[in-house]
């Protein structure tokens, strides 16, 4: 192929640059994983893959991942659909407030939740267990959070909002005349729900459930805290164990890459199915106008259901968060929670004295700020090419753009290890840089989503009007496009910054002696039995996260007002 240099305008250069970013950051790491699992000594080799899968511990990890994912998906779907229906289709009191509260678990890091539940329900030292044993005079504890049920329960608490948000959105957008016409033709409320409402929101339920499955399958934090202690490993924790213990032995990395390949493929399949499901549902729910849907009168159940919802929120949000704060203030772990056992010294110690935690906070802050900034800018450029530019070869970028969505954090970590530890002449293993590139890969999807949504709102004619007024490409970009997508860019920044700040899955595979992040620090503190400090550091992380979410809410709200 010959390249006509004259044809190379700005568009082509930007396209190539965009492709390059995605190739280096995402495509090569993923490719390296597949290469490592299927190619031995330059030959395609499937036997070894089968052998790896046949080993009892890898097989076990696969099975556990599936069991956990199925359980979490089932319970998240049931709980999510129930509460979504409750807040959008009944006359439950304080619905608007409840709607916000149900989404709160979304912003809490689930591994901190797992930590809290360990403090509450571990068989020997769990606060609730001890309380019940004292009250009932029992010799043995009632609950044991370690194990499948514990993992499934805790993951469900933090993942059910995926279903809740999808389904409540669909129920609110649904054209009420669809139900009303069924009612006029004589169907009762039960029949309507069964024959009209549920089929109409089914795509949203499935889409939410698939997202939960995807997250659970590739989830590290909760199984790491509640599972490894009793020998339950899922795919990500097994990869972590292999990489961590083996110090980079060939067989360990191979096992890791084979498991990672399975994660990538299943993530791809899940996302593909979800896409199909959403597409099939797109035309059914129609009505963009929010018209008032028919509300079910709960009558006598109104107060009991409100209490149930409040209890649910108390148990899943307030109790664990409060526990983290209270335990973080204890003088030593294990003493009862009374005012004379409390101190703020822990916070002072980890914030100002202890180098390890100070470093971790600093690392997390600058890594997530810089990764958010870079990823946001790269996302703007890539989305601009995909959404707005007419340039040959765009399809390749579109294809690459799908990749970041289907690569779980563990896979990214493994991929960047393979790519950046000297194989291509660059070795940044054990430095902050490797975490930085991994964060960019991990959060590129968020940036692409937010920025392309913003760009799609900017109609082409706005730019063309500017061009006809005499503005050049860049002038039109600067004075029209950028101001209009700024809210999307800011949203993208925070959508990356906040999760990156508390990131665990990727960093835990990549951290070196001086490059712990907040998530890693909390995790290792917990492993080392420093429960009080783990809780104190978690409290600080939670405070930063809540402040961040308040900021993002303010920004997105002012954006809504501007768009009216």
């Amino acid at each position: 192929m010959t390249i006509d240099i004259k044809k190379w305008g700005v568009a082509e250069i930007v396209l190539v640059l965009s492709i390059l970013i995605l190739v280096v950051v995402v495509a090569i790491p993923v490719f390296m994983i597949f290469w490592n699992s299927f190619v031995v000594d330059g030959h395609f080799n499937l036997n070894d893959v089968v052998k790896v899968l046949g080993q009892p511990d890898t097989y076990e990890a696969l099975k556990n991942s599936v069991i956990i994912a199925l359980g979490v998906t089932f319970f998240s779907t049931v709980i999510g659909v129930f509460f979504a229906w409750l807040v959008s289709r009944t006359d439950l009191p304080f619905k608007e407030g409840m709607k916000l509260l149900f989404v709160v678990p979304f912003m809490l890091p689930s591994f901190i939740g797992a930590l809290a539940w360990k403090m509450l329900l571990s068989p020997r030292s769990g606060l609730i267990n001890k309380l019940l044993m004292n009250l009932l005079g029992l010799e043995e504890s009632i609950f044991n959070i370690y194990g499948f049920w514990g993992i499934i329960a805790v993951e469900t608490m933090y993942l059910f909002p995926f279903v809740f948000i999808q389904v409540s959105g669909a129920l609110e957008r649904m054209d009420p005349t669809l139900e009303e016409s069924a009612r006029i033709s004589g169907a009762g409320l039960f029949t309507i729900t069964r024959k009209i409402t549920i089929p109409l929101v089914m795509p949203s339920i499935l889409a939410g459930a698939l997202l939960v499955a995807l997250y659970s399958l590739a989830h590290f934090g909760v199984p790491a805290i509640l599972g490894t202690q009793v020998g339950i490993y899922n795919i990500p924790t097994k990869i972590y164990e292999k990489i961590h213990q083996s110090a980079g032995s060939f067989m360990a990395i191979r096992t890791g890459t084979v498991l990672a390949s399975i994660l990538v493929v299943s993530a791809g399949v899940i996302l593909y199915v979800q896409n199909l499901v959403l597409k099939s549902g797109r035309f059914q729910i129609i009505a963009g106008k929010s018209v008032r849907p028919m509300l079910l009168k709960l009558r006598g159940l109104r107060v009991p259901l409100l209490i149930l919802s409040l209890v649910y929120i108390f148990v899943t949000v307030i109790l664990p968060t409060g526990t983290i704060f209270l335990v973080g203030m204890l003088k030593t772990y294990g003493v009862s929670i009374t005012p004379d056992h409390m101190t703020l010294k822990n916070f002072k110690y980890i914030l100002f004295t202890w180098k390890m935690t100070k470093d971790a906070i600093w690392n997390s802050v600058y890594l997530s700020l810089s990764a958010a900034f870079v990823t946001m800018l790269a996302g703007v450029m890539i989305s601009y090419v995909v959404v707005k530019m007419k340039v040959k070869g765009k399809w390749f970028l579109e294809f690459l753009g799908v990749l970041p969505f289907s690569v779980p954090g563990t896979v990214i970590a493994l991929g960047v290890i393979l790519m950046w530890s000297g194989k291509f002449g660059v070795n940044i293993y054990n430095t902050a840089w490797i975490i930085f590139v991994a964060y960019i890969a991990r959060y590129m999807a968020f940036s692409l989503k937010s920025n392309s949504a913003a760009l799609e709102q900017v109609h082409d004619s706005l730019v063309e009007a500017a061009r006809a007024c005499g503005a050049s490409h860049w002038q039109a970009m600067r004075s029209i496009v950028l101001p209009l997508i700024r809210p999307g860019m800011v949203a993208a920044f925070f959508l990356i910054f906040l999760p990156a700040l508390r990131e665990l899955t990727t960093s835990v595979l990549l951290y070196g002696p001086t490059t712990r992040t907040i998530g890693v620090a909390i995790y290792t503190l917990n492993e080392d039995g420093e429960t009080v400090y783990a809780a104190a550091l978690s409290s600080i992380a939670l405070i930063i996260i809540v402040i961040g979410h308040l900021v993002i809410r303010r920004i997105t709200r002012s954006r809504l007002e501007g768009a009216q």
């Binding site: 109609h459 706005l462 063309e464 006809a468 007024c469 503005a471 050049s472 002038q475 209009l484």
Partner: protein
């Protein structure tokens, strides 16, 4: 001000052909309308002139400047073409006030701040938006937003104004008002206007000349609104310009019969030029047919009558086909010529247009 000339312009999107050989000249200072059904390539033509698209073949001139040429690989970017454009969706920048929208082209041209402000204010005056300069677009109505777009296109004194269906998002009353205002603006500023629409009423109302384009991107006729309406070049133009009846007829002994029947169209003048041939299709407007109770004329039966206020609309069966007829209400009432469904009446045709027999398929294009 300048003339615009498209010479042998072809445009393809991949294999999809918009047109092959488009030739149009918009004269300096006139209001020229390109009228055609949706999807015929009107918007593409605007975009070719504005420079958002490049022709696959042929040349585009603005004034004496060759702005696009497929053969010579010339393509002047949109910002260098001195055009003003108004889009169907207004394209008013939502983050800028009305004033900021209008002053933008002048800022880009680095016109001195005070002068720019004065010109922008004047442009806002011209489109009757005085005092609304500080409003953001969402605080303006659709019509007002469209005026902002007009002022923005006018403020830099372009050589040519391109208007792409600028009124189709407005309601009927506003549309009528705005089309008057566009005409006034064009008269006052003397700017060359290239207007694109599928609405023949607007085209007739504002244009000096109209070009009719068919679905294949071919230009069927170019002429003044009178010529287009009164002397349509073919059945397609006739049909496109308003409600129409087409009746296949044959000539026998200097009389006109509905084809294949002995039912004659009474008192029809056959133009000299047409006497040589035998088969025709005649076209006529519903308002060019007179109805009477008795007397000369072709018999028909009223199938449906709808009272529309100032006119009465009939569907009448005559010689096995349905004919649309419209009568003005006062005349019909005063002469007792209101027919109800099922009644028989006599039809007399004025001002028939004579077309080739093959023209019907063509007209449906």
């Amino acid at each position: 001000m300048a003339e615009v000339r498209l010479s042998g312009v072809g445009k393809y999107y991949g294999k999809h052909r918009v047109y092959d050989n488009l030739n149009l000249t918009v004269q300096d200072g006139e209001c020229f309308t390109l009228l055609g059904p949706s999807g015929c390539g009107k918007t593409v033509t605007v975009r070719l002139i504005a420079g958002f698209e490049q022709p696959t073949s042929g040349d585009v001139f603005i004034g004496k400047t060759l702005v696009s040429s497929a053969a010579k690989r010339i393509h002047l970017p949109p910002e260098s073409r001195k055009t003003g454009i108004v889009f169907q969706d207004y394209a008013v920048w939502p983050h800028k006030t009305a004033f900021e929208n209008v002053v933008f082209p002048l800022t880009i041209q680095r016109i001195q701040r005070n002068e720019a402000a004065a010109r922008a204010e004047r442009a806002l005056d011209q489109v009757a938006l005085k005092g609304l300069g500080n409003r953001l677009p969402y605080q303006l109505s659709g019509g007002q937003q469209q005026r902002v777009a007009l002022a923005r296109a006018l403020v830099s004194r372009p050589e040519i104004m391109l208007l792409d269906e600028p009124l189709s998002n407005l309601d009927a009353n506003l549309r009528e008002e705005m089309r008057f205002e566009i005409k006034e603006l064009q008269k006052n500023t003397g700017v060359t206007v290239f207007y694109v629409t599928h609405d023949q009423e607007i085209a007739l109302a504002i244009s000096n000349r109209v070009a009719i384009m068919d679905r294949d991107g071919g230009v069927r006729q170019v002429g003044t609104p009178d010529e287009i309406y009164e002397k349509p070049a073919d059945a397609f133009v006739f049909k496109f310009m308003g409600l129409s009846n087409f009746i296949p007829v044959e000539l026998r002994n200097d009389r006109v019969y509905a084809k294949g029947t002995d039912i004659g169209l009474e008192e029809v003048l056959i133009p000299e030029a047409e006497r040589k041939r035998r088969d025709f299709i005649v076209g006529c407007r519903p308002s060019d047919i007179d109805l009477s109770r008795n007397g000369t004329g072709t018999r028909g039966v009223v199938k449906r009558m709808i009272f529309l206020g100032s006119i009465i609309d009939y569907r009448i069966e005559m010689a096995g086909r349905e004919i649309r007829v419209q009568q003005d209400t006062p005349g019909a009432l005063s002469q007792n010529r209101v027919f109800s469904e099922g009644e028989t009446c006599c039809l007399k045709f004025h001002d028939l247009k004579w077309f080739d027999p093959g023209c019907i398929e063509e007209a449906m294009l």
